[in-house]
Amino acid sequence: MAMQFYASPEQIMRDRSELARKGIARGRSAVVLSYEGGVLFVAENLSSTLHKVSEIYDRIGFAAVGRYNEFENLRRAGVRMADLNGLSYDRRDVTGLGLANAFAQTLGAIFTEQSKPFEVEICVAEVGATPDDDSIYRLTYDGSVNDEPGRMAMGGQAEAITGVLKNEHRPDMSLSEAVRAAVKALSSVGGEGGASRTIAANQLEVAVLDRRRVGRTFRRITGAALTALLDGEAADTAPAPGRAKTPTVPTEEAKKPTTSAGSTDLEGQQDEAGGEPAQ
């Protein structure tokens, strides 16, 4: 019969934390910050299809680092929960805080009950009417939640990245300034001998929650639009239309309808002149 050795609960928790931290530190980082026109997500990602940043609901986005299968599982759960609540109550009743709490419960339960914790760190961000109203929550592998002050970094060497980001970030930045600040922070670590390095545009995954849209505010910024933002040209013009890459956004013109699931329809904000609120 195999001998069971005694391990104190403290030791077990320490071992699990160490496993999770090591797993997260191996991956590439992501930053989330609020700017004048919304909330910006920038992640270093070699794949253009396995996303680290995605949409959860109208005004809520999700970013994660760590093991893909584990955070993808959490993301799907978040989308299901948000859609279920939005259908049974109203679209306005789905909040970032509610989702952050649900993720925290799930991560906390997995950390204490399962033999292996999730090696992930996630961020739930909700865009408000002004940068002060944005909320950015950081959730770690053990289920703890932090309300971050308008910016956060996660993944390997998150502290060094946060340091750079703190110096660069202002809530009234333009999109172009915010993208460049985020990329500067991400590339400040990981070079030879701890020096900074250059990250190519095709290794970045960039998305925003656009404060000025009604309905679904999430959109990805890719290709020429991203390069222009990185170069500082065309500072805050909307990205060029790219239908194949951004199926959820029919057009970049502000006046055009951008909602997919008729969310404006349900919120009764169809058109400025469209008068009547829907049921």
Binding site: H51, R80, L84, T248, S260, G274
Partner: protein
């Protein structure tokens, strides 16, 4: 229940965690129930060069009474497609909301939109789920139309699908109408529809067809000039779905009514 590896379909997820939220899953007492709830009436859809137009009147009826004068029966299903509802209003609205979430949910989970045919098939299976209630008189029939992003020829990208209580979808060529006034609307469209219409002409034609439906069907509401209630008109083109503003539909409806002052037959 949220973290199980499952399908990308929201209705499949609901059928596991909250089946009571699916229309057609509720036990009904035996007997006909057709007259117990308001009925939504006429919807028309016309395919045009570079898109599709859908319009619906604003009346809901209960037997011989008008239940609501300004109901909205045409809605965006997602960024490129439209859905109009005829039949039992309450179930229709519920089904339409569920369909909107279904499409958005798939898009968020998979990171890509369903094809237009995929959307029509999803809607067909949702209608089929309501078959039991439909046989007791609580039928819902939608009309689905959208801009097909995969179409090779942009002039033929506007497509229309119809359904019956047992499902479908049936793709329609050119135009279609559903609801109590559809007979008259379709007759009007049959004489006036030409392939390759511009979107603006198709909008006008849709409002004319609804006028003809209201002319002969008491359950269809015509343009209400005194209360300023006009049909809901939406388009789906390469730029996405768009709802004409009240001012735009008012101008079209008033010009249609003015035309009928001279020639009541249109």
């Amino acid at each position: 229940m949220f973290t199980n590896a499952g399908t990308s379909s929201f209705t499949a997820f609901l059928s596991k965690v909250a089946p009571e939220m699916l229309p057609g899953r509720r036990p009904l007492p035996p007997g006909m129930a057709a007259d117990m709830a308001p009925h939504a009436t006429t919807i028309v859809a016309i395919s045009a060069a570079g898109g599709v137009v859908m319009a619906g009147d604003r009346r809901a009826t209960m037997g011989n009474l008008i239940a609501q004068r300004d109901i909205e029966k045409v809605h965006p299903a997602d960024a490129y497609s439209l859905v109009g509802i005829a039949g039992t209003a309450g179930i229709g609205i519920e089904l339409m909301r569920l369909f909107q979430v279904e499409l958005e949910h798939y898009e968020k989970i998979e990171g890509a939109m369903l094809s237009l045919d995929g959307k029509a098939n999803r809607l067909a299976s949702m209608i089929r789920g309501n078959l039991g209630a439909a046989m007791q008189g609580l039928a819902v029939i939608p009309l689905f139309a959208g801009f097909d992003l995969a179409a090779l020829d942009p002039a033929r990208a506007g497509r229309i699908f119809s359904f019956d209580v047992t499902g479908g979808p049936y793709e329609e060529t050119g135009y279609d109408a559903i609801g109590s006034g559809s007979l008259f609307a379709k007759s009007a469209l049959k004489k006036r529809f030409r392939a390759g219409l511009s979107v603006d002409d198709a909008v006008r034609l849709a409002v004319e067809a609804l006028y003809d439906a209201a002319d002969d069907d008491t359950a269809t509401g015509g343009p209400d000039l005194t209360r300023r209630i006009y049909p809901v008109v939406m388009t789906a083109t390469a730029e996405g779905t768009h709802r004409l503003t009240d001012a735009e539909t008012a101008a079209i409806a008033e010009s249609v009514v003015a035309g009928r002052m001279e020639n009541p037959g249109g």
